[in-house]
Symmetry: C2
Subunit: 760 residues, 2 copies
């Protein structure tokens, strides 16, 4: 999913000024061979060029993170981008320079403004409660997995952050004098407003903040709860609130008319649109004060329990090391030898692939029930993880296959979470956020994701339950929130363009349904539901009803059977309305039948006509690296024997162009890790061609050696190794035997495969 | 205390159009002799002319009331007064016609905007959540103690309300179709904002609303908690919130930009400046839906317990009868025979005298601790009442003496509450509101009130504790919040004018200290603390240091001893700055030495000079019936033998001019019952001359017979009767013996006195 593609190349040449990867080991400089995978991660990648990642401290798949927040307020020469001046989904933008705190719930690489709240800012000297006044420039940024630091210029405060699964921890090194820590519930990336808090003691604040309206869906709203605890008792404290504007005579009497009002010593609950609290300390020079924050989506009590359990005391270095260890434990599943640059790209890509879906259950197992009724009902995971933030239109393509391959136990629980959502709400998720279905994007991607997972051998979930859930999505004709176009689709074989011009997404929607039906059909076949398999696979083949021989495009078609006319396949490149297509134009979708490329090639008139069309796509600048529908295109050359070098050429070219060790080093929005997963696969040299299709397309490998440690609970092989072919060799080989085609199956790959690929 | 005296006469001639006393008995019309006292009360008196009373349902001394709220929004031809367009302390204004709901916490007759929140409005038809849109005109108002009803024109809904001590109950008779009940936490008379609520079930909503900034004191803030329960399960429900204005690109995407956003089915906590909830019902024609609301200043849990205890079911008629019975039980302590008009004035005056101070403890005894620290600490009354809303600058003059005489067990608990405040906060209250000292007005009125109470024979509180508390106020030289001018006062004998021009209140403040010191001296004498008595009584005599022979005024004096010059005794009549005087001019204060009128008369040059000055005050229109400093003036003629008929003449004239059976039937702000207490005493024919002085000045009686039932726990007599002298008789008599002076002591009066006074 992409946002603002037309601006996506703007910041590509920016360097990473003033930021660096934090030194996370005691190694001697130069002994790079001893670096752990986490030390290769550059969390600043994706913080420019609309990547929408942030450099803050985060633990893998965590409910919380601590991110620098620099998108509030326009400041000449300081903030280039103001959060409300555009459709902005970023809590942190590399080009910006005005920091107004650190936020404790954040999304990574999503396309809509959301979260970015529970904002905490340290200041020094006189108490200033207006973030536009207390904000500051910052310098000396450093970041590594689970750690972030910067110096807040205005006050000379060094701010560091680390985090656990459900808690954040910040350490502020203050100058001598009066020091302040401000909890601001007004500021937020989210478009929702309103919060409530209470100063429990001179060391603790509790409260909640409303978040939601994700992707401008007005009903996706809920509170997030927090408890913040301070390492030092505040000398004085209070709450504050922005007062409304009184325009009448009252206004003359109000001391705080249309301004921020402090409430010293206020220990009652305080609610409002724009509220907060402050704690003030007398500090010695270089005195450190820490604040730890527990988060929960269930209750303040659970937030407190999360905090007490995950951070029973203040132990910054231990927490930081735990986070680093957790990252290394996951990242080291893929060991590589190769250039420092490629290691940075790989591990940062893997890092970004291991953020969402993220857990939402508290330490006691409680999580908010999935319901459109916005009840406060709570479920309990009974020890398992409950994942949330499913951007499935994006992630079903490659991120979940990556998890299935390398982290099958995690992927299995992600499927189980999706099945719980089905049990709770009656439907599988589409774009689930914090136990709310946001109904963002189109298609039936959960079906594609779940069927694919099972077929890959990740079979530790209730497949009959899953199958019933997928069938419900596939077969429900009316009132089907997953496939709202199902009645037409099942009747006509495609979604007609008639109904929703000019923003109709009929072709895109149809293509997503075909992908899902293919995956479901493959699963049905595997499960010996032969009739079902025939039905779904036949439905998938209906993509042919949309193939227009005249243009070669998958073209919008009316209920009558007539093609949409007039018709411009270029339309939609710049987000203008393009009937038939969602987030793209006809070119971006013309080869989006990944499950039946031979069939599509035949429709296109055979290999050479197809290759000509594929080349034309790249040549006419109709390929978009920054969005999902066409990200398999560079791999499609593999379907035509002899064309494999073009796959390798394009993949290498695209990596070099779009993926760099710079803040702008993502081709646009990371889409909850989908762009990063593309990079990880493409650097390794394999790419999953379609959900439900067990083949990976092969390309060249960027490394001298890749060792993927496989999970023996799921896979026969202990390791998968990829090494470059000897110079001069062209033909990839498996376990020493040359491969006859440019694909390898998942089953082959997971049996201690020794794969040799061309060097990138 | 008065507000807007210069507008106070404006609405005097308005009639009570469209309002009437609700018929609360089954009596046959015309048999007026069977009417209970409550049936004489006209709750509309004081709802015009800035009286600041409201006609809503209230129980005596209750924590809650249910008042129609008609002061929001300017509407041409509908609302004459908009709440923020002036310093407005009224939830209901008779001249206004645009109703936007019923509020569940309200003050009566106070001078600053406060409370008027927990607003509930019934509507019908389509759901409209903007009060400016859903508000309506109304008609057919009726009100009686504990009951209010009106018809909401726009929807044809009959709305009725009644209440208990801590809960309100509303009954809405809906038309057939869709009916709605809206709980709005945005609207409020208070200048504070912010609330939080949660729909607990289809029959219950809980939440809190911040109130405060009383008299524009920014730190007098706290939450009020509520639980609302509906007699019928809502078919659908939701919350709503006014969204902020997004001015950037975001604004184009927000469906609810700068407008009210509904959140259907939302059952999480919702917080914000301007939020609410709605319940929707399918109703038959004339179907009644009831909503009962429990209030607490401690917690939501206590609000629920209050509701469950005081209204275990829905029983509108029983609750209404209980409230009426409670009023009759109190009002009938004074039985009178006389004209219907005078009975209406008397019982309405008594009704208004029995509202504040009001209880603040919950049914479990819990109440918010008195603290300037705004903690959530809770006290427990252990079965007693904890009173709140002490407007002591006003009420110490006559309301508490009235309570001491007729309701000594209530007055005793009011003193005990004040002593608890002293124990909790370190100081006696001055203008206490909801366990917060608002520091409004000047002087040391708690001392005057408590000493007076004890001397009257109400001795069921810990007098040693009280004495220590009063001595602390009187003797603390520095950092004395009760007497901030005490250092100068004790050193010079008066508060010098030097420091705070032009709003210096040095004379007024000095005079209040003299009154308090007199009362404390009298108590000390009674308690045999002879040295203390000498000291405080001598301090009281220092009023003479402010007497200026040249002007005859109690004149502002500098620290040097020089008089303030230039000096205009008329200054201050229209709220312009008048150095030396608070809420008045020199004339309003020139005789405010009620404890030593003989001394003041001597200073003025003897009886005739004094009478000339007193007459000049009335003749030059420098007497203000609407404010406290001079309300004893009409009784001062009694101090000069032979002048007693002028007291009777002025009192009768003032009652006729300012106290009518009309909405404008109070001379201005009721000042928490002080004006009404003046009326009650003045109708009976007695008036307490000064706190600590046990004499009542006598005037004529408005009734054919007055029987005051005395509390035998406190007083020797069972009853006090007042009857008119036979025609032609001039000399008041006690138990058949003519009185030699126009005063009678409290002790005489409470020994089964049979007092005969001239007929009014």
């Amino acid at each position: 999913m992409k946002i603002l593609v037309n601006m996506a190349f703007f910041a590509l040449t920016l360097g990473c000024v003033g930021c660096s990867i934090a030194n996370t080991s005691n190694e001697v400089a130069g002994q790079t061979s001893q670096k752990t995978p986490a030390e290769y991660v550059n969390p600043f990648i994706g913080t420019s060029n609309f990547g929408a990642t942030h450099p803050g401290a985060q633990y893998p798949h965590a409910l919380t993170s601590v991110a620098p927040f620099n998108v509030a307020f326009e400041h000449k020469n300081l903030n280039e981008f103001e959060k409300d001046a555009a459709w902005n989904s970023r809590v942190y933008i590399h080009e910006n320079n005005f920091l107004t705190g650190f936020t404790h719930v954040n999304l990574s690489g999503v396309g809509c403004p959301e979260l970015g709240v529970i904002n905490i800012m340290p200041t020094a000297g006189n108490l200033e409660l207006d973030p536009q006044q207390y904000g500051s420039t910052y310098s000396n940024e450093q970041a590594s997995p689970g750690y972030y630091q910067t110096t807040i210029d205005k006050y000379g405060i060094k701010a560091e952050a680390t985090s656990t699964l459900r808690t954040g921890l910040s350490r502020y090194t203050f100058p001598a004098g009066q020091s302040n820590i401000i909890v601001n519930l007004g500021l937020g990336l989210t478009n929702e407003t309103g919060g409530s808090l209470k100063i429990v003691s001179e060391q603790e604040i509790e409260g909640s903040r409303t978040v939601g309206t994700f992707c401008y869906n007005p009903q996706d709203v809920r509170p997030v709860y927090f408890v913040a605890r301070f390492s030092k008792p505040a000398k004085t404290f209070g709450t504050f609130k922005k007062m409304p504007e009184f325009t009448g005579v009252e206004g003359e009497w109000m001391q705080h008319n249309n301004s921020i009002k402090p409430y010293p010593n206020y220990q009652h609950v305080m609610s409002g649109d724009n509220i907060g609290a402050y704690m003030r300390f007398d500090t010695q020079g270089n005195e450190q004060v820490e604040v730890k924050v527990g988060i929960s989506y269930v209750s303040i009590e659970n937030a407190r329990q999360n905090l007490n359990t995950e951070q029973p005391n203040f132990a910054f270095e231990r927490i930081r090391k735990d986070a680093q260890d957790a990252w290394n434990s996951l990242l080291s599943r893929i060991e590589v030898q190769g250039s420092e640059h490629n290691k940075t790209l790989l591990y940062t890509g893997l890092y970004h692939s291991l953020i969402h879906p993220s857990i939402i259950q508290d330490v006691n197992g409680e999580y908010p029930f999935m319901s459109q009724q916005h009840t406060a009902e709570v479920g309990n995971t009974q020890g398992k993880n409950r994942y949330s933030v499913y951007s499935l239109w994006d992630t079903s393509r490659n991120l979940h296959p990556l998890l299935s391959l390398v982290y099958p136990e995690i992927q299995s629980q992600m499927v189980e979470s999706a099945l719980s959502m089905y049990q709770e709400s009656g439907w599988l998720p589409k774009w689930e956020l914090l136990s709310m279905e946001t109904q963002t994007m189109v298609g039936d991607p959960a079906t594609a994701m779940i069927a694919d997972t099972y077929l890959r051998g990740v079979q530790t979930f209730d497949v009959e339950l899953a199958y019933a859930a997928m069938q419900k999505s596939a077969d429900t004709v009316e009132n089907n929130p997953i496939r709202p176009e199902n009645a037409d689709y099942l009747k006509l074989g495609y979604v007609p363009v008639d109904d929703e011009e000019p923003y109709d997404g009929s072709v895109s929607t149809s293509l997503e349904y075909y992908v899902a039906d293919f995956a479901l059909g493959q699963l049905a076949k595997y499960l010996d539901h032969d009739q079902d398999a025939q039905k779904y696979l036949a439905q998938a083949q209906n993509y042919k009803t949309l193939f227009d021989e005249t243009t070669g495009m998958l073209r919008p078609r009316k209920r009558s059977g007539d093609w949409l006319t007039p018709y411009d396949p270029e339309l939609g490149r710049n987000f203008e309305p393009a009937p038939g297509y969602i987030e793209g134009n006809a070119w971006n979708y013309r080869f989006y039948v990944p499950f039946d490329m031979p069939g599509l090639i035949a429709l296109n008139g055979g290999d050479s006509a197809f290759i000509a069309a594929l080349n034309a796509t790249f040549d006419s600048n109709n390929f978009d690296m920054g969005n999902e529908p066409d990200i398999t295109y560079p791999y499609l050359f593999n379907y035509v024997p002899g064309q494999e070098p073009n796959t390798a050429r394009h993949v290498k070219r695209l990596i070099a162009k779009y993926f760099t060790n710079q803040p702008a080093g993502l081709p646009g929005n990371d889409d909850a890790g989908t762009m990063s997963a593309w990079l990880v696969f493409s650097l390794l040299g394999i790419y999953p061609v379609s959900p439900g299709d067990m083949d990976y397309a092969l390309t060249s490998t960027a490394f001298d050696r890749v060792t993927i440690h496989l999970d023996s609970k799921y896979y026969a092989g202990k390791t998968l190794t990829i090494t470059p072919l000897n110079q001069g060799q062209e033909q990839p080989s498996l376990n020493g035997d040359p491969l006859s085609k440019a694909f390898i199956s998942h089953q082959q790959l997971t049996q201690s495969a020794k794969l040799r690929l061309k060097a990138q």
